[in-house]
């Protein structure tokens, strides 16, 4: 491990979290700790159907809280969905937000919280450190082992008019509490399980090779790669094995703690562009792009890739750099295929003619700031083309 501390300062922010089976049932106590009275419960239709939303609402109501449900969130949450949530929050005079769901409801909740406290349209907070006042208390109950939005300082909102994803990056939106309960991931279908798992793997890899990585974030990222690479194929084979689910959830959490503090790289910059422009699933886009970007970055973060290879349990003794590079990207490709994410971008409907536009948007993404290898627009175009 490259333990030489850079002269740059490093900061590590994580919310209070409770991890383990049954963690979600603490929601009443935490709502009480945060002085809640009337709670906006944000969720989406899928999670509601799986029964998690109703269970949480029941617990909250039994604990004496008034709950207002907002399930109008779609994948790649849109700015107008955020504003609808804000309206409901203010109309019902809520004071706390509890979110039950994956990355989309959590990012939407972060957006609601920003607007409630600061007033303007959510899109005006695009960028880094743009939020003046922290929002109302936010409790997250993640139901996918992927996004780790429940511990991160990121919120990604789609501007449907510009067909663009905007990133809001600020420590102000790190949630107050995250109740991470592996049980909630049992209801994910195999494909969603695969996509969210590969998303988490991408988080861990990008945090490790980020030019802002640090010993603390490395610690979490390496553990995350170990856990995800070691369990992702098993979780597809035995989806009801709670222990495997728990390992995946923990891997996702570790990856989240790492990337929230070391930030990400070109995979996410390019995936955000795809999600905004073509409304494609975030996890799947990451999975397709990961191998290509790793290959692109390899020479600028060789030390870190050694850690990745070790964590993936690859035999690297005596191999050349070139061999190592190939075995890592091969392994990523193998895992992807093995868990059933088989399409390339072309298979998702991305056309060669979209590449310029996609690269242009990705170039503006803040995630690119911490990519180990500086990328120009042409680099990104080539990467998209390779992934078609």
């Amino acid at each position: 491990m490259n333990n030489t501390l850079s002269s740059e300062l490093r900061k590590f922010v994580a919310p209070e979290f409770v991890f383990g089976v049954g963690a979600r049932k603490q929601v009443g106590q935490y709502a009480k700790n945060l002085g809640a009275r009337r709670i906006l419960v944000v969720s989406d239709v899928g999670v509601k159907k799986a029964g998690w939303t109703d269970e949480i609402v029941d617990i909250l109501r039994e604990s004496g809280f008034e709950c207002i449900e907002f399930i109008g969130v779609t994948p790649n949450p849109k700015a107008d969905e955020v504003m609808n949530g804000v309206e409901l929050y203010l109309e019902a005079d809520c004071d706390t937000i509890v979110v039950v769901g994956g990355g989309s409801p959590i990012d939407c909740s972060k957006g609601i919280s920003i607007v409630v406290a600061n007033g303007k349209d959510i899109l005006s907070y695009e960028g880094i450190d743009t939020v003046p006042y922290p929002g109302p208390p936010l409790i997250c109950i993640p139901t996918t082992a992927g996004t780790a939005a429940d511990v991160s300082q990121f919120a990604i909102i789609t501007d449907s008019i510009q067909r663009n994803k905007i990133a809001i990056i600020t420590k102000s939106i790190v949630p107050d509490v995250s109740l991470i309960d592996p049980q909630t991931t049992l209801t994910m279908d195999p494909f969603l399980t695969a996509c969210t798992g590969l998303d988490a793997l991408t988080h861990a890899v990008e945090a490790l090779v980020s030019n802002a990585h640090s010993p603390i974030t490395d610690l979490h990222a390496i553990k995350a790669v170990e856990l995800i690479a070691g369990n992702i194929e098993n979780v597809i084979k035995t989806p009801n094995d709670l222990e495997v689910r728990q390992n995946m959830t923990l891997g996702c959490l570790e990856a989240g703690l790492a990337f929230s503090n070391a930030s990400l790289g070109a995979v996410h910059a390019m995936a955000h562009s795809l999600g905004g422009y073509m409304d494609l699933p975030h996890g799947e886009c990451n999975a397709i792009l990961l191998g290509h970007v790793m290959d692109f970055n390899y020479n600028d973060a060789q030390h870190q890739f050694v850690h990745i290879a070790k964590a993936m349990n690859l035999n690297i003794v005596g191999g050349t750099n070139k061999q190592l590079r190939k075995s890592i990207t091969d392994e990523v490709a193998r895992i992807r295929k093995s868990v059933g994410v088989v399409h390339n971008l072309g298979g998702l409907g991305v056309h060669r003619t979209d590449v310029r536009e996609l690269a242009g948007k990705a170039l503006q993404d803040p995630c690119l700031l911490t990519n180990p290898r500086p990328a120009i627009k042409r680099d990104l175009e080539v990467l998209y083309e390779e992934a078609l």
Partner: protein, 406 residues
């Protein structure tokens, strides 16, 4: 869309991503909480500065929940942790409870918004304190409360009471004084009446016997003795006239008083006709026809007899004597005017004109007892009117009078 290159360098942006942006560095609730807390303390200090009592009241039990220093002073509250605060009716009087509850339940629709009521409480020293309470509703959190503001109006009420008391005392004194005056007046009038009445009997005797003496012994008496006897008779006639005058004067302020419509022109003409039969002088007169007045017929007749009689008396020595009686509209009433071109009088003595027994001319010039105008003034006053005069020596006099208060 904001471009990364718009304002910040990539280096600055990267620092932001790593959580070193200014706003992220500041992320802390405590400064904000402290600020809010200070604001609250500031409001509290302002509330405590108020002299008025300001209380937050529970809507169910009417128990005081929070009070400012003004309320502690005004309601003499004891703040200690073991004892709950009293209820609003306990501090402002039980009588107010029904009013307050009616207002809260919305029974009293006119006062839906807020309720104002005056209450009276006795403080620990036994002093009465008057309070003006205004109650309104306020919602904090999810619960509705009543906010009660109490304003001490004791100083005002005490001053009002003192004023009322002195008014009453004054009224009482006026009443007492008036009744004393009424008694004295009555006594005087009775005295005047009695004296006049009692004087008549001896006068009748003097008159009667002097007449008998004249008839039966006239021839025996010398010329001088006869003149003495005539003096006695003349004087006793004068005295009889004087007694008549005093009795009229005394009648003019008491006795029944009726209000009827009178053709005052007709009445004046009749009086002139009588004057013509008892006097030999030729005097011209002009009376405007159909003048109407309202008043007591007997008293008005007396008034006209006096004024027209005076006009006649003081004009008869003049050639082309002329008496005029007419009326004029002035302000909002009618002024009656009796004008002659007789001897007139000196205006500098006009203040004595209406005083009884005060005369501006000697009896040797013009006979009279000095009671007529005093009687006239009382009659006018009894009708609620006013009388005044203008004159010039040698050119005549004009009397003005009204019969109703203007």
């Amino acid at each position: 869309m904001k471009k990364r290159s718009d304002s910040l360098t990539n280096q600055e942006l990267r620092a932001g991503v790593l959580g070193f942006g200014q706003k992220s560095m500041r992320k802390n609730y405590y400064p904000e909480l402290r600020l809010r807390n200070e604001e609250l303390e500031q409001y509290r200090a302002l509330l405590d500065q108020a002299r008025d009592a300001i209380c937050l009241v529970d809507i169910e039990s009417l128990r005081l929940i929070d009070v400012n220093d003004g309320a502690i002073r005004l309601f003499q509250l004891e703040i200690n942790k073991d004892n709950p605060l009293p209820t609003l009716p306990q501090v402002v009087g039980k009588k107010s409870e029904t009013t307050i509850r009616d207002w809260m339940s919305g029974k009293d629709e006119t006062k839906q918004g807020s309720l104002e009521l005056e209450v009276e409480r006795t403080d620990s020293t036994g002093k009465q304190v008057f309070l003006l309470l205004s109650l309104s509703r306020a919602t904090f959190g999810d619960k509705e409360h009543v906010v009660c503001v109490g304003h001490d109006i004791s100083a005002r009420r005490h001053a009002e009471r003192a004023l009322q008391k002195s008014h009453a005392e004054l009224e009482q004194r006026v009443l007492e004084r008036t009744s004393e005056l009424v008694a004295v007046n009555k006594e005087l009038e009775t005295f005047a009446y009695t004296v006049s009445h009692d004087l008549r009997a001896p006068l009748r005797v003097i008159n009667g016997f002097s007449e008998i003496l004249m008839m039966e012994c006239g021839k025996k008496l010398s010329k001088d003795e006869m003149v003495y006897l005539q003096h006695i008779q003349k004087s006793s006639h004068e005295m009889n006239g004087l007694i008549d005058g005093i009795m009229t004067l005394s009648h003019s302020t008491k006795g029944e008083f009726s209000q009827e419509s009178i053709d005052i022109s007709l009445m004046a003409n009749a009086i002139i006709e009588t004057l013509k039969t008892t006097n030999t002088e030729k005097i011209n007169y002009k009376i405007r026809p159909e003048m109407q007045a309202k008043g007591d017929k007997r008293l008005i007749k007396n008034l006209l007899e006096n004024l027209l009689g005076n006009a006649w008396k003081y004009s008869k020595t003049k050639e082309n004597a002329l008496i005029e009686f007419f009326s004029e509209k002035q302000n909002n009433g009618i002024v009656f005017i009796i004008k002659d071109n007789g001897v007139g009088f000196d205006m500098s003595k006009a203040d004595r004109l209406f005083q009884p027994f005060k005369r501006l001319h000697t009896s040797s010039e013009f006979e009279g007892a000095g009671i007529g105008l005093a009687t006239v003034q009382r009659i006018v006053q009894r009708h609620g009117g006013r009388i005044w005069a203008e004159a010039e020596v040698g050119l005549g006099a004009t009397f003005y009078f009204t019969l109703t208060a203007s």
